[in-house]
Symmetry: C2
Subunit: 397 residues, 2 copies
């Protein structure tokens, strides 16, 4: 990666600069609304709940290149390297990363765009479609064991052999600033919408895995005191390391996570640089990130089913974790309801982080004929008759 | 329905009038492109094929109100009735139809919008989510047996009891003109796209069931000789009644179809009024509809998988039948390739008619762990590594 000393400060204007740099290489993804989901979010989940009143705006990064926001950070990181070292030098050395998922494809795409060799270390157990997706852009895929030690050993081997430059998936300012452009575009699109509040969103919720997307988004909103930024995590098998780490006294970053949550993009612990943002603040904004909430895998499945069947948008499980928090997390819902004045409705921006799943994966998740399991599953079915009115509207349209 | 004597002529300007009438009640759905699908469509399906060269534009009626284009025809039919009889009279008498699917929800929505009782006769075997979707708009759902005799008997009963006015799902000029607004919007959106051909699409492909959508679309393009209009049908168990009827010598409408194709929106025979368009033409355009092609259920499944996994768009099986024709029907592909000059690329508009399916239905279709079956299934898997570049771009964006 670019030397830390050359990195731009973690400020909104650096997010804008990152956006200017990558704009020709990324898709401007749509912002969608859906009345059915607004209605579900604003309806009590129990008879005694004072339901929050919420209008949702979904930033569809599943329609981003390679099917996920990761293209933003990868292009920004590579363009910064080219600025710093020159294209010839970067081409001579090449790029390397280890990833079984969206970052692998994103870096391979960025490399192929500038004719830079991109070495991708993937665990042999990666899903065939992700391996194929990565191999579409690079002939330098290497397979390793699945532990982080095995992957890192192979990355070190590649670096020693080729001099390739490591581009990590989230733990670097260039990546964070690149991912923050999703949060930035979302706000600009919202402000261009009829009926938008001139001070912007009341709240924004982003998924939290390694923390690139959440921290970048929080950086963009760090000079906007009217917009609170929240993180959303899966809590299966301790996948909510960010939430737990922030609740510890004093807060401390949890460095190891081992979870098989269906939100496979969020299985990693929060990285060091993103952690600094999660725990930071400034004079404009007390906290960059207000807090982090988590949900069960059943709640994620229920949200996934709603998004596909009601919004007609194909997303991966990690992408709907923020929506699951908004629909099913008691603590989040109570917090919003308590802050709302009578009659107040919050406009909430939600990032759908990606759409890289398959029908086979859905079958494995939902089982043959089992349908959605658990309480939220029942709720998801129950509400289908509530308000059939709204199907995805393109706000821009 | 409105008296036939009062119906507008089946011309492009009548489609435009229908659009003006319904515009405040329908969503302006997005037009999407996808490079991966362009690349697959333009790649030989066999080593010896001269592949057609195609750029695809998808009109996403899965994002229409109630999740399908049917909202267009229903609103147009109801607004025409109000014009003709007055709102009070229509309210006094009410509306009635029989449908197990999207038309039921569409008419219930249109009825509820104007506070007109809408009686919907649904077979008891209808899927629970469609019953719930319909009941969200009307309290007048009645259940009948599943044969057309049983359904029609109950409709007659409702009409005798209440004086309700029948709004059929496709076989009426008002419905056809309403559905044609999808084809009209699609062309306007295409012409506003960078790089569009000023003379419009080279071809448009719409699904063919009862024929409302295809005939309405063909009416819109009937004064545009540069755009050929094609229909697409499932051929499982004779679902391709339109194709077979047109190929008969002399052409004759097949009046009964009994198929359990997964394209459940296309199981009906072509209606009398749409049939007139299918076999008609005028001096501007030799034929309104050039011809109709059909595909197997395996080909429909392969196309469905591509649209969900690569475009990230959630559609129902009926919606992808046109794409399946473009990707897998030899006769269609040869016809395009033969008409193309060296280096020519056709811009082809495709209507994604709806998105009303469920994860449970996908599981039933694709089986537990079976994946896509048949040759096209293998092809769909095979091409996933071909070009991972493009993910849904919003052309307008």
């Amino acid at each position: 990666m670019a030397d830390l000393a050359t990195c731009a400060p973690l400020t909104p204007s650096s997010v804008r600069s990152a956006h200017n740099k990558i704009i020709n290489h990324i898709h401007h993804t749509p912002l969608l609304t859906n009345r059915t989901l607004n209605s579900i979010a604003s309806t009590p989940i129990r008879p005694d709940e004072k339901a929050p009143q919420i209008r949702l705006y979904f930033k569809c990064e599943n329609a981003q290149r390679i099917g996920a926001f990761k293209a933003r950070g990868a292009f920004h990181a590579v363009l910064r390297l080219i600025d710093e070292l020159g294209l010839d030098e970067v081409r001579r050395r090449g790029l390397v990363t280890h990833s079984s998922g969206n970052h692998a494809q994103a870096l391979a795409l960025a490399g192929s765009t500038f004719d830079i060799p991109a070495h991708i270390v993937m665990p042999t157990i990666s899903t065939p479609s992700k391996i194929a997706g990565t191999q579409a852009y690079t002939s330098h895929v290497r397979f390793s064991g699945s532990t982080s030690q095995e992957r890192e050993a192979m990355v070190a081997e590649v670096m020693a052999e080729t001099g390739a430059i490591l581009v990590p998936p989230y733990d670097h300012p260039d990546i964070m600033l690149g991912q923050g452009t999703a949060g930035m575009e979302m706000e600009e699109q919202y402000l261009g919408t009829q009926g938008a509040k001139s001070e912007g969103f009341d709240a924004v919720v982003a998924p939290l895995g390694g923390g690139g997307l959440l921290s970048g988004t929080a950086i963009w909103y760090s000079d906007k005191p009217g917009t609170m930024v929240f993180g959303a995590e899966p809590n299966y098998q301790g996948g909510n390391d960010g939430e737990m780490g922030l609740k510890a006294d004093p807060p401390r970053r949890i460095e190891t996570v081992k979870t098989l949550t269906i939100a496979d993009g969020l299985r990693t612990p929060v990285g060091k640089n993103p952690w600094g943002i999660l725990t930071g603040g400034n004079s404009v904004k007390r906290k960059f990130v207000e807090s982090v909430y988590s949900v069960t895998d059943d709640q994620i499945k229920a949200a996934l089913k709603l998004v596909m069947e009601r919004m007609k948008v194909f997303v991966e499980p990690s992408a709907v974790v923020p929506l699951a928090v908004i629909l099913y997390n008691d603590e989040f819902r109570r917090m919003v309801a308590e802050r709302q004045k009578e009659g107040e409705v919050w406009d909430v921006g939600v990032i759908f982080s990606g759409g890289n799943t398959t029908i086979e994966a859905l079958i494995a998740m939902f089982g043959a004929g089992d349908g959605v399991q658990g309480e939220e599953g029942k709720r998801a079915e129950g509400v289908m008759g509530l308000d059939g009115k709204a199907v995805a509207e393109n706000i821009a349209g």
